[in-house]
């Protein structure tokens, strides 16, 4: 039986402040939604599980020229969670106050609504990071 965490289920989870990932019963590592195999060991013995809502910033940027549907400036960061899965999201901070010292800082992880696609009917959520 293949356990596939769909994008829809992942998004519904974010709306309820739940951070869902695909957890491998064999190697104990996380993969992201829509994968049908563990990206670390290839196993299909997967379950949907919450990953830790905290982690460490690995890198970041301040977007100053934004795509349709977003208002610049804002910070995008790559975070390694305490569950060892990497996630991308927005750091909730004044974009003009940040620098390289962000890398290595601890953050808590929650979610927020965004509207990246003006043609989409469904509400989309992304991850929100707050410095601890």
């Amino acid at each position: 039986m293949i356990n596939q965490l769909s994008l829809n289920e992942y998004q519904k989870g974010l709306a309820d402040e739940k951070l869902l990932g695909i957890h491998c019963k064999k190697c104990n590592q996380f993969s992201f939604h829509s994968s049908v195999v563990c990206k670390h060991c290839g196993s299909t013995e997967l379950e949907t599980k919450n990953f830790e809502a905290a982690g460490t910033i690995k890198t970041y940027t301040v977007i100053r020229v934004a795509s349709d549907g977003f208002e610049a400036p804002f910070v995008v960061a790559l975070v390694k969670t305490d569950s060892r899965i990497h996630v991308m999201g927005n750091l909730d901070i004044d974009p003009d106050s940040v620098g390289m010292e962000l890398i290595g800082k601890r953050v808590s992880i929650s979610s927020k609504k965004v509207n990246p696609d003006p043609y989409a009917k469904e509400v989309t959520h992304t991850l929100k990071f707050v410095l601890e």
């Binding site: 994008l7 992942y10 998004q11 992201f32 939604h33 829509s34 990206k39 690995k58 890198t59 970041y60 940027t61 301040v62 977007i63 100053r64 020229v65 934004a66 795509s67 349709d68 549907g69 977003f70 804002f74 995008v76 790559l78 390694k80 899965i85 990497h86 996630v87 991308m88 999201g89 927005n90 620098g99 390289m100 890398i103 290595g104 965004v114 990246p116 696609d117 989309t124 959520h125 992304t126 991850l127």
Partner: protein
């Protein structure tokens, strides 16, 4: 596999075009055929790269329309390829593999793109579509943003002050503009300075506007055939001696952004097949969509150790006239321009002309072996080709 070679190559001027994607491809295509002394009726298949024609001109299914406009025979099939910015390289590689496998003896491959037909909000939105729509796009990440995050990670990992890395990156832009100043097909045929880069507006920290390649229109096409066929078309055949391609999904699948694992996997295949090593490569056209991208590429391709490539442009080692591998003698994506669906074929065109000694003022003296490197998406596709003149 049979030996595969390239006959005629061609590209349009890169910049802003009033011609359609079909018309631009035909301009390059018919020129490549004429240079190969072959008529359209003798082309056995057409391999077209095109990313965004659906949005640019409301034109999908473009390969069939190019086929008709070029007057190719009805029993020659026409295919469209799309792999983000690596699109045309994949079209060329697929064409070469089909010829090598014995399916066809002589084919036409290349790419075409007309980004300037879109207004800026539509262009930004369609470019962002190459990142993972469900996971990456909702963060508001842009492609400058992806490479900006890689630059910050690079500076942190190797202990380089970010202001210093910005100067090193600016030197990549200065070098590529210098090369493009000698390229009559380039979008920007003028030199710039480090100060000008550092004083241009910030697009995504730490990347300035002049660290970024432009939106461009253009097309490029190449005639590919068996060694025997190509010997009949030109006295300067250029052989495709090795190819590679790899796939990797979104950034979160490959979180060490200083190591583009797809590139390392792809180029390893190409080096192995060709039986050459990085030090055998005289010149390389690589994917400098942003200045940091060139620094990451010269390390992943094996020209520099990891963490040691950042000052190569500043020291002049990658510049025309250097004894080391010359990087992006055409001016690269940064200054020659980057019509995304055509870029790979234009890289092939530059390498082929260089290996034939036809590059005029920007000729790399004595060049015999060249490498093409093209990357697509958030590092999710890389394709490499190794070309040799003998």
């Amino acid at each position: 596999m049979r030996e595969v070679a390239i006959a005629g190559v061609s590209m349009t001027d890169f910049g802003v075009s009033e011609n359609t994607c079909v018309e631009m491809f035909c301009e390059a295509g018919i020129d490549a055929l004429n240079k190969s002394k072959i008529e359209p009726k003798n082309i056995e298949a057409l391999f077209v790269g095109n990313c965004l024609g659906d949005f640019e001109e409301g034109q999908s299914h473009i390969a069939s329309h190019i086929h008709a406009a070029l007057g190719l025979p009805m029993d020659s099939p026409a295919m469209r390829y799309e792999n983000a910015c690596a699109t045309a390289t994949i079209a060329v590689r697929q064409a070469a593999l089909m010829v090598g496998a014995g399916v066809y003896d002589v084919v036409l491959a290349g790419g075409t793109e007309r980004v300037a037909a879109m207004d800026t909000p539509l262009a930004t939105r369609t470019f962002a579509m190459a990142s993972n729509a469900g996971y990456s796009a909702p963060t508001g990440i842009t492609f400058p943003g992806v490479f900006a995050m890689a630059a910050h990670m690079y500076a942190d990992k190797y202990g380089i002050e970010i202001e210093e890395l910005q100067k090193y990156m600016a030197n990549v832009s200065v070098k590529n503009h210098y090369h493009a100043s000698m390229n009559p097909k380039a979008q920007f045929q003028k030199e710039i300075t480090v100060d000008k880069v550092l004083n241009s507006v910030m697009v995504a920290d730490p990347l300035h506007f002049l660290d970024c390649c432009p939106f461009s229109d253009g097309a490029s096409a190449v005639v590919i055939g068996t060694k025997q066929k190509v010997m009949e078309m030109t006295d300067k055949p250029v052989y495709i001696i090795g190819t590679g391609q790899a796939a990797g999904g979104p950034i979160i699948n490959n979180p060490d952004m200083t190591r583009i694992k797809t590139r390392e996997a792809s180029v390893a295949q190409a080096y192995k097949e060709a039986g050459v090593k990085p030090s055998d490569i005289d010149l390389c056209e690589l994917h400098d969509c942003f200045t940091i991208a060139e620094i990451l590429a010269i390390e992943c391709l094996g020209f520099y150790e990891f963490g040691k490539g950042y000052d190569a442009a500043q020291k002049g080692e990658t510049r025309l006239g250097s004894k080391k591998t010359v990087i992006n003698p055409s001016g690269g994506l940064k200054a020659k321009g980057h019509p995304i669906g055509a870029t790979g074929a234009a890289q092939v065109t530059e390498i082929v002309e260089q290996l034939r000694g036809e590059s005029g003022k920007r000729q790399v003296e004595g060049a015999k072996t060249g490498l093409v490197d093209t990357l697509g998406g958030e590092f999710g596709t890389v394709c490499n080709l190794i070309l040799r003149s003998e």
